[in-house]
Assembly symmetry: C2
Homo-oligomer: 225 residues x 2
Amino acid sequence: MEKLEKYYHQIKNSPVFYGMKDDELQGLLDCFNARIRNFEEGEMIIRQGDRITNIYLILEGAVNIEKDSYWGRRIIITQLSVNDNIALAFVASKNIESNIDAVAAQNTRVLVLSYEKCTSMCQNACTRHKVLINNLFDILSKENIELIQKIENVSQKTIRDKLLTYLSNEARKRKSNSFEIPFNRQDLADYLNIDRSAMSFELSKLQKEGLIKYNKNKFVLSARV
Amino acid sequence: MEKLEKYYHQIKNSPVFYGMKDDELQGLLDCFNARIRNFEEGEMIIRQGDRITNIYLILEGAVNIEKDSYWGRRIIITQLSVNDNIALAFVASKNIESNIDAVAAQNTRVLVLSYEKCTSMCQNACTRHKVLINNLFDILSKENIELIQKIENVSQKTIRDKLLTYLSNEARKRKSNSFEIPFNRQDLADYLNIDRSAMSFELSKLQKEGLIKYNKNKFVLSARV
DNA sequence: ACATTTCCGTTGTTTTTACAACATTATTAA
DNA sequence: TTAATAATGTTGTAAAAACAACGGAAATGT
């Protein structure tokens, strides 16, 4: 449990516990039976079919939310990183099985909280729970908006439009025309649901036309995009 | 305001107000400055760029959540119907502009609640607000899961796979192999991001092969799907 | 009932994509 | 450093989709 101390500051400032007083947070972490778990790159944190009763807060690393299509193709729904929650939506809907996998995209450290245990104990009555549920509501809202964004990205007709939409949305999010993306080429292709090689080809074309520049995961959008 | 009475029972049993006592609900409706608005088919309820401060609960009709792509194509994110909330995610994230349009898909009656007004008055202190935020959390969770479902639908590679994934997901949701879909052909195409005529062609093919049967919006899936 | 409009299915053509196979460049391990 | 492995880029070909154009059915309005 000593490890928890090391991350206390980060936890306190995470969106989940934002605005909570020290004593409230401390009590909540106890109530939640808070513990830290580590996952190696490629390890499954959540599997399709699981019933999720824990809140997972990413302390270090990154996690891909994926789905294997019926025909074996991999779909990347989104990539989560530090301070994000994994599969929060399934915590609220207790009786719904997860329809996604969560896979560590790097070595990843996660704070695990027994949501069920806490809510059954305090029966939503304590003030700290009120702050918490407000925060969770905010987080889910943002996730919701992100998912809509993703739908926009993958709903473009051509590979070119998918790339341009994705890249300009990223640029807007980071408020800069120069940014790194969290995906390698294959992952980006799985995120945009397109063929990797065809995507590579289109990327070079965009670069030749001067619309974008890139080197590995670092992209720069020209003003014209 | 007399109209409100007519829908009182429905409102009381909607997911937003689920579990609320009569006096709590009555107080909340006052506090919320609840009112009813009607929209004709095709009318815009919410536009991209709007800042949403109201909760919208659909009492009658249906609403398409849409997005016009940069290049003018229409994307249908989802269709909402009775008891659903419109753009709830944007209510929580006050400072984020809506990036979607909400368009009445039929003549539609909506209960409008000034979320902002209510929260500023009771400052989250009243018990009824606690029930409410819990309900909203549940609703957003389900919406979230729905969006992931939609991403799965549109992430299939071929028109055939998109159709089969969509249809079998619908069948699972309704717990029946026989069901009606809320879309006409053009809307379904805009939902799955495919060409209408190509989709029509694939639908007939699926029917010829005996995988599905359909008549207008009524679909029956064969056991093999 | 008739005209008008909207919706749906069909077909042929052009464009785009997936896929496979391979070249080149990074990265890792020995 | 070199060999081995992984990641990315390139090209040609087959498959799939978009698009346009049109015919017929269904719905709507008068």
